[in-house]
Amino acid sequence: MTSPSATELRPVRVTLAGRTYFLHPGTTVLDALNEAGADIPASCRSGACQTCVLQAVAGHPGPAATEGLKEPQVVAGYFLACQARPTADMAVATPAEARPVPAVLASTEPLGASVLRVRVRPLAPVAFRAGQHATLRRPDGVARTYSIANLPAEAEDGLEFHVRMRPGGRMSPWLAAAAPGSELRLYGPAGSCFYVPAYNDRPLLLVGTGTGIAPLAAVLRDAVESGHAGPVTIVHGARDAHGLYLDDRLRRLAEETSGVVYRSATMAADEDVADAAHRALEAFGASAARTAAYVCGGPATVHRLRRGLFMAGVSLRSIHVDPFERPPA
């Protein structure tokens, strides 16, 4: 029997971590999973608090389940389990689930005075979006998370990372000295600091401090290659002129690409990166409130910038941040 009514009555199957759960029509993914003991954390159950977020690996949760999420989260398959009433089978994952991929160090070279360009070749395919980050773990267990600086189309020779050299640090001196071929494990990629076509006609504001400019330069190039139509401003904040290690490249990119503006701000010249960001926002004029913003770098600055942009009228749902938390020494 394959009549439509018979199909509708069949419970929808949802798999999570190798286990299959059955959903009766109208039941939410959250209720079905938790009634069967999956223990998905939840709070408001009305689609507002976002505690119960899951990721769709296959299948669709239905439109109500992505209401209120940020566009990159939607693209990455995230949905609210309490609002998900799928009509067809799904495979889902909890956001924390991560399987490492074996990888080797491919090459390193200095990029300016204090940044190391590191290429890592995964030994299995790794899907990522320009602007995401990945965690590198050495065999001895020391692990650090870095943003990916290149685009998927450029990644045949591996993922590129811009690593701030920290004398006395546990990872960066090791990377600088390690031989090509050294074994690593790669976790992720993860993070929602990536371009989505839904932003096509909106102003884009990319603000990075230090090596936070690396993922944003990739996001910028991804946006340009995707045919982004709105104005774009990329702002790099650094301690001094030496810290503006992508200055030449970004200057050239801005000159060659209509609609793209590059600004820099250094503490040495008493320039505040937040002021530069706000001037960029003002230059967007009437469309400033529709700006999609990406902010990467030191946590204190990232949080200050996010708050400033929000107070200036940018929706929090359109502000994507990646604070570079420093692990305890």
Binding site: R45, S46, A48, G68, L316
Partner: protein
Amino acid sequence: MSENSLYERLGGAPAVLAAAELFYRKVLGDPALTNYFDDVDMDAQVAKQAAFLTMVLGGPNAYSGKDLRSAHAGLPGIADAHFDAVIGHLESTLTDLGVDKESTGEVLTIAESVRGEVLNR
């Protein structure tokens, strides 16, 4: 949830998310309140504001407000004046959204009912 709840009339979930940002911006912009939000995760906070607004607007909700007590416990010097200020920002948000006086009064009455939870009484 009644079909004519203010939540539905304002436009449901998308409208409430926009209202939550408006509300949160007013609260953050208030010098008497802003320091309390220095270390909070802004995305999580605006989601909580949306859950709170969903409740007071009569939306579909299982939000009991019971975590309001734990969320506000231990905030230094938190008092009636702070709660009054937040209620004022809620009223101003509703005014901005064009909500009539009578409905606003009903919402503020519901909001008022959590004063004891927030101030840990």
